[in-house]
Amino acid sequence: MVTITKMMMTIITEQNLEKAIIHDLEDLGVKGYTIIEAKGKGGSGIKSGAWMNDSNIQIELILDNALATKIYNFISDTKKYDNYSMMVYLSEVNVLKRHEEN
């Protein structure tokens, strides 16, 4: 199996930020992403999925180290995101088929 090692960044955040965040991510250079609807609980309370203001999205990004760092810095530096309910984590994946992996 020929694979390319990439980072996978997962962002779990409020559904009604979707447009704004995707906008920011694309500005930073993201070319591909996957979005899944979610509900959950965290430091900022329960998101029960009952309605839009009360739901989460899970954004999955396959990207290289450089872009991951760029996004990380953006999230850390931008006041805006400090006030948003958001959880971000990284792991490593091996991508089989090359498309736009950012």
Binding site: A50, M52, K80
Partner: protein, 312 residues
């Protein structure tokens, strides 16, 4: 006073949520119901608008805009000075109360239908008009008039918010197609209106009750504000209705627009424009306190007020 059945659905939802029954509408259905309400309210207004000169309304629209600026300006000092909220939070809550709640408006429409009271046909136009100024005032209150604010983006966020656009689509199609649309769309949009509202309110009761747990966290002032301020705002609305020469029914709806607080469009817009504001605070107030208060107590109370003042 006998409760309107649609209000009973709200109370039922509120109650079962407090009893920890694990029920909520699928979110697709919740969205469907609110889309139906918005389009239908718009269509109703549009059909009526088609019967009159839109030009005649310019003055009144200006007055309503003024009301939309005034209400957050009254709310802000109360929140900031009396409530001792942070500036940005006071501004954010003020923006919520300057804007409107379509659900509450629909309850008012149902109330008037039940009591066979007529109202000015163009009220849904004011519903659309009032969504905007409060947000702008809120941002200026929070930040002053700085260059930092991306007003173009703000305008896009607000003017093109889902709820406004759907109201507007309904208004426009109703206006363009006129009375004859009734026959075509009645069985899907108009006839089931109250039933749709009933199911919508069942869900809103559940959602509102889920905010109640946060009341403790935010304290008694917020509860008091969420109950007393709508009455003040309704009085402001009544005065505007008087000046505009609205009928009893129209006055009630304008009072409801004044007294109700947004829990959909404004939270989303403020989240982008004022990220430092605590969204729980304003949502708890508008959705957990003011919405139930208006639906159960406010609407009939404002009707009484209007009757006394305007001599219904």
């Amino acid at each position: 006073m006998v409760l309107d059945p649609v209000v009973m659905f709200f109370i039922a939802g509120f109650t079962i949520s407090l009893m920890r029954v694990d029920f909520k509408l699928p979110s697709a259905i919740y969205e469907f119901l609110s889309i139906m309400l918005l389009i239908t309210i718009g269509l109703k207004g549009g059909i009526e608008l088609s019967k009159q000169h839109v030009g005649d309304l310019v003055g009144d629209v200006g007055l309503v805009l003024l009301m939309g600026v005034l209400i957050p300006l009254i709310a802000y000092p109360i929140l900031y000075l009396v409530g001792r909220f942070k500036r940005v939070d006071a501004a954010s809550i003020a923006a919520h109360y300057g804007s409107v709640s379509v659900g509450t408006y629909a309850v008012g429409v149902a109330f008037l239908e039940t009591h066979h009271v007529t109202y000015e046909s163009h009220m849904p136009l004011y519903l659309v008009v009032l969504e905007i100024p409060a947000i702008v005032v809120g941002i200026i209150l929070a930040k002053g008039i700085t260059k930092e604010t991306n007003w173009a983006e703000m305008a896009q966020e607000s003017f093109l918010a889902k709820s406004i656009v759907l109201l507007f689509v309904g208004l426009f199609i109703g206006w363009a197609a006129g009375e004859k649309i009734h026959a075509t769309l009645d069985p899907f949009f108009f006839a089931p209106f109250k039933g749709i509202l009933a199911l919508f309110l069942l869900e809103m009761g559940i959602v509102a009750a889920s905010q109640v747990g946060l009341l403790k966290k935010y304290g008694l002032f917020l509860v008091a504000f969420g109950i007393i301020f709508p009455v003040i705002a309704a009085a402001v609305g009544l005065e505007f209705a008087h000046v505009m020469g609205l009928s009893l029914g129209g006055a009630l709806l304008l009072m409801i627009l004044a007294a109700s607080a947004s829990y959909i469009a404004v939270p989303a817009a403020v989240r982008i424009a004022l990220p430092e504001a605590n969204p729980g605070l304003s949502l708890t107030a508008s959705l957990g306190i003011t919405f139930p208060f208006n639906v159960i107590v406010g609407v009939p109370l404002y009707y009484k007020m209007a009757e006394m003042y305007l001599g219904g």
